[in-house]
Symmetry: C2
Subunit: 226 residues, 2 copies
DNA sequence: CGGGGTTTTCGACTTATAATCGAAAACATG
DNA sequence: CATGTTTTCGATTATAAGTCGAAAACCCCG
């Protein structure tokens, strides 16, 4: 029994936009030596898989500030690794923008849109994790785990755009997150950029743990509060 | 490594409404002798957990017509069972209304709303599975796995009401499922009940595998098709 | 065979939420 | 202080869901 974590963050690109990256380390030994793998390892006898995933990230890639970590599924194909059968629990992890830890050698962030050759089934696990992230961005407050503690709406827009893979409308983003009570202004403003312009109000997420908004109010009972 | 499946179906109650039930068997041996447990068992060396769950259901409770089966998570607390640590993968299974198989002795359907004393952590797993079912009813076509092949809108309403735990509006149910392209009329009608009344048009789900409707179109890019 | 009772179906309206657009606000620079 | 830039927000439109009630289509009974 092992755990494998696809840890994502967004990192600045040259053109000012952000890129969705996943943390991978390059295998030195066979099988799949030279290919890139997800961090993880064997689950200890006195920990559950969630604790184990946290521990492995701290131990192996010095990653202690994972803002969110959740199971995405069990990968148990008998042939997923050569030799004896190893069952893996896959995780989705998120690190806020700008909170990247110093990485050990052989460990690097890679753009999810252009993965290097991946080891074993780690590419598939990464894809599943990215899909889960994209889905949850639209009906949960999971953005808190990708955004910095305080941020401008323009920054949040770039974070969402990077994770979703398409541009988002800033008016909608603001109004929807406000309506759901996920966002609130800090009261302070960020200094304007080099080109001037109105200074942006700093925002924060109201809660820093996963909250689900009713995906659909559909079929709602007559008397239930909205 | 074991699998445990919370298999649900809806069954008629005396008052004409439906009840959401889960399949449990009564343990004869310790630990937790006499308490009720989820069907499942140890994963074999040449099968993955999904195949294993299907096999166990077929072998142990003669359940071959599970219309839907999906992972809901890994349960790995070192103390979840006495003795050596056993990691379990939990599953949500669904059986259509009226498709109940003949059950082995010691195996019975129990109302989810009033579970008998459950073994180990099986009550918690059942709760998680029920929550997943309720969530997916509102943004997927998962109803196909609870409804018969053909059904009237009134029946579907009762199925949804049982699974969700609250009444649903038939007009909304119809219009929403139609709009999403999940439902279509068969062209035939069901005979009216003993009290007469307009005969109901028979309906069916258009697809019989899980389809997710965009939970939110939120943040949609300007040019993406709806 | 026509009226009253029953159930289903659907149109019409209201409300809630999201998408789009553009103008106003608030700053920097020359 | 005029001009350019970025942010913010109000106004409008579009889409989806919730609510209501009437019409449709059947039964039974007198």
């Amino acid at each position: 029994m092992e755990v494998l974590a696809a840890v994502f963050t967004t990192r600045p690109r040259a053109d000012g936009t952000l890129d969705l990256d996943v943390l991978l380390w390059q295998r030195a030994m066979d099988p799949d030596a030279g290919r890139w793998a997800l961090p993880g390892g064997v689950v200890g006898p006195d920990e559950d898989v969630d604790q184990s995933a946290r521990r492995q990230l701290a131990d192996k890639v010095d990653l202690t500030r994972v803002a969110h970590l959740e199971q995405i599924g069990v990968f148990s194909d008998p042939g997923r690794v050569p030799g004896a059968r190893v069952v893996a629990t896959g995780f989705l992890g998120l690190v806020p923008l700008g909170a990247e830890p110093s990485l050990p050698p052989d460990t690097r962030w890679h753009p999810v849109a252009a993965l290097p050759p991946t080891a074993l089934d780690h590419g598939g696990i990464t894809g599943r994790a990215a899909g889960r992230l994209r889905a949850k961005l639209s009906y949960t407050n999971i953005g808190f785990a990708l955004a910095p503690a305080e941020f401008t709406l323009a920054t949040l827009r770039r974070v969402y755009a990077a994770a979703l893979g398409h541009d988002v409308d800033p008016t909608n983003l603001h109004r929807i997150l406000l309506r759901r009570g996920m966002l609130e202004p800090t009261g302070t403003t960020a200094p304007p950029g080099p080109a001037g312009g109105r200074p942006a109000a700093l925002q924060r997420f109201t809660v820093s743990e996963l909250r689900v908004t009713d995906p659909f109010a559909a079929f709602r009972p007559p008397d239930r509060p909205a």
